[in-house]
């Protein structure tokens, strides 16, 4: 008797259960998208800290370089201009919005390129190259660059996971409803590493 009553109750409310199941599924999907977006934002914060560190280190490098590199005025000015631009973008109230992030990454990439050129140019100035302060500044700069590279790889992995979640149905619908948008990848040129010599290994 009780068995029959339970069976009838279940049959009468089957639509409700399907709806409930669907709601739970959508919530789990939604929660997964939000988790991935937050992870990407967390990864972005990691890069942001390192990019700010780099911007803070540049004046030190420039001050030392200016004493010796009279012929590289244009390059030094370009680095100064890009650093100012980067700092302006970092302080922007919308700095963590997707469109601004993309713009920032572009400027940061330009700054990285110019700094790379500056570091290569240092090689042409023996006095500067052997200057203790310059050596220390270069080491600190290289350390930050390596941190940026690692943080960038983490950020791109997090962004990739977010994109997969919000581009595949029904993730795209849920993302559209709650306003989760794509975040840009951070593409930057890897600094050329000194070639490994077999004689160093064997």
């Amino acid at each position: 008797m009780i068995k029959k009553m339970i069976g009838d109750f279940l049959m009468d409310n089957i639509g409700l259960y399907i709806l409930l199941g669907l709601a739970v599924l959508l919530y789990v999907w939604y929660a997964s998208i939000i988790t991935k977006r937050n992870k990407a934002k967390e990864a972005f914060s990691g890069i942001d800290v390192q990019l700010k560190k780099r911007a803070d280190l540049i004046p030190n490098v420039l001050t030392i370089a200016k004493k010796f590199m009279a012929h590289e005025k244009e390059l030094l000015e370009e680095v100064t201009r890009l650093r100012t631009e980067v700092q302006k973008q970092q302080q922007d109230a919308h700095a963590d919005e997707a469109a601004h992030i993309k713009e920032r990454f572009m400027t940061e990439a330009q700054l990285q390129k110019s700094m790379g050129q500056l570091m290569i140019a240092v090689e042409n100035y023996p006095e500067l190259k052997s200057d203790t302060n310059m050596l220390e500044a270069q080491r600190a700069y290289q350390n930050v660059e390596e941190n940026i590279a690692a943080a960038r790889r983490f950020y791109n992995a997090a962004v990739n996971a977010l994109h997969n979640a919000i581009q595949i149905f029904p993730g795209n619908v849920i993302a559209g409803l709650v306003g989760v948008t794509e975040m840009p990848f951070y593409e930057a040129e890897e600094a050329d590493r000194k070639a490994v010599n077999a004689a160093d290994v064997l």
């Binding site: 290289q142 350390n143 390596e146 690692a150 943080a151 790889r153 077999a198 004689a199 064997l202």
Partner: protein
């Protein structure tokens, strides 16, 4: 010329230098085996004669056992000779120091790092120490067993027959990074158990590395500082190389296993790596068998790869070292 081509040339030079030594060892083996065979025939003849005189059978068995001990001693001497005449010079040509007894210290560290299976019996042998620039590294072979039960229920299982490597890192790793061989469908279980120890799965961008390994760490960025693209490539090569060797049943690696199990841990100033290839790599085999010419050549390539692992650690992080060493 690429680094691979340069290395191949250098390896070929070392292999060519070793060829005469290998030829000498093979000549020695042939003569030594002939002598041993004559000794065995003489021992057998003496035993038969003694048995025919009607002497106590236990005395004959006793003499037979002594003959067995003598033959074992001959095998041991032959193994020792091969190690002295072929493996030691190979190590010297690769700028490595050969220590026949191995290193217990690495075994203890690997046990603490939990990168080898639980064991209660076993030991180490065949150790090598080297240095590439400022990066010191060591290798030792370990043979470990797990004994359980007692009396009739006693069972002994071989749990590890492979190499243990220790690299002294030119930088300090603040958060541990663990790398395990990919376990396919069992990865989810592994991910869960690692979560309990506070580690999370690190998804990396190299598809070849991702197919072979699973990386875990407490800090996503720190893990990527350690697992640089070059280093991931080197680790993938290591696994593929030993899997091929196992599939081809290369000398010393034929105790029946489908693939090589690799585990490693970056912690502090050390990288520990266990390579369970299920073999006794540095044993030349029984003296009646011809020495495998590829055996030493393969060994040269393996240690060249080990040196390359050490150098890739150094090359990648040359500047990181300066600011991060504690």
């Amino acid at each position: 010329m690429s680094i691979t081509q340069q290395m191949d040339e250098k390896i070929a030079e070392i292999q060519a230098e070793l060829a005469p030594k290998f030829k000498y060892v093979e000549q020695f083996r042939q003569q030594y085996f002939k002598d041993t065979l004559i000794h065995a025939v003489l021992i057998a003849a003496v035993l038969i004669l003694v048995a025919l005189t009607g002497i106590d059978i236990f005395f004959v068995f006793g003499l037979g056992s002594l003959g067995g001990v003598y033959l074992t001693y001959r095998q041991y001497t032959y193994t020792h000779k091969v190690k002295e005449e072929a493996i030691k010079p190979m190590a010297e040509l690769l700028d490595l120091k050969y220590i026949p007894s191995g290193s217990y210290d690495i075994l203890q560290q690997a046990k603490q790092a939990n990168i080898i299976p639980t064991y209660n019996r076993g030991g180490v042998e065949d150790g090598f120490i080297g240095k590439v620039k400022d990066t010191e590294f060591e290798f030792t072979e370990a043979h470990l067993k797990y004994e359980s039960g007692s009396g009739k229920n006693k069972s002994v299982k071989r749990v590890f027959d492979g190499g243990l490597m220790r690299f002294k890192l030119p930088y300090h790793v603040n958060e541990d990074v663990l790398i395990l061989t990919d376990k396919g469908m069992f990865n989810s279980l592994k991910n869960m158990t690692q979560k309990f120890s506070g580690m999370q799965h690190i998804a990396l961008e190299d598809p070849r590395f991702e197919e072979i390994y699973q990386a875990y760490g407490t800090d996503q960025v720190e893990a990527r500082r350690v697992l640089t693209p070059l280093f991931m490539d080197v680790l993938a090569n290591l696994k593929e190389r030993f899997d091929i060797k196992i599939a081809n049943k290369s000398s010393g690696l034929s105790i029946g296993r489908k693939s090589c199990d690799i585990q490693m841990l970056f912690s502090g100033n050390t990288l520990l790596l266990s390579l369970n290839y299920k073999g006794d790599y540095f044993e030349p085999g029984l003296m009646y068998k011809s020495l495998d010419v590829d055996w030493i050549s393969d060994m040269v390539e393996d240690f060249a790869l080990m040196r390359f692992i050490a150098s890739s650690l150094k090359v990648q992080q040359h500047n990181y070292a300066h600011t991060q060493v504690k």
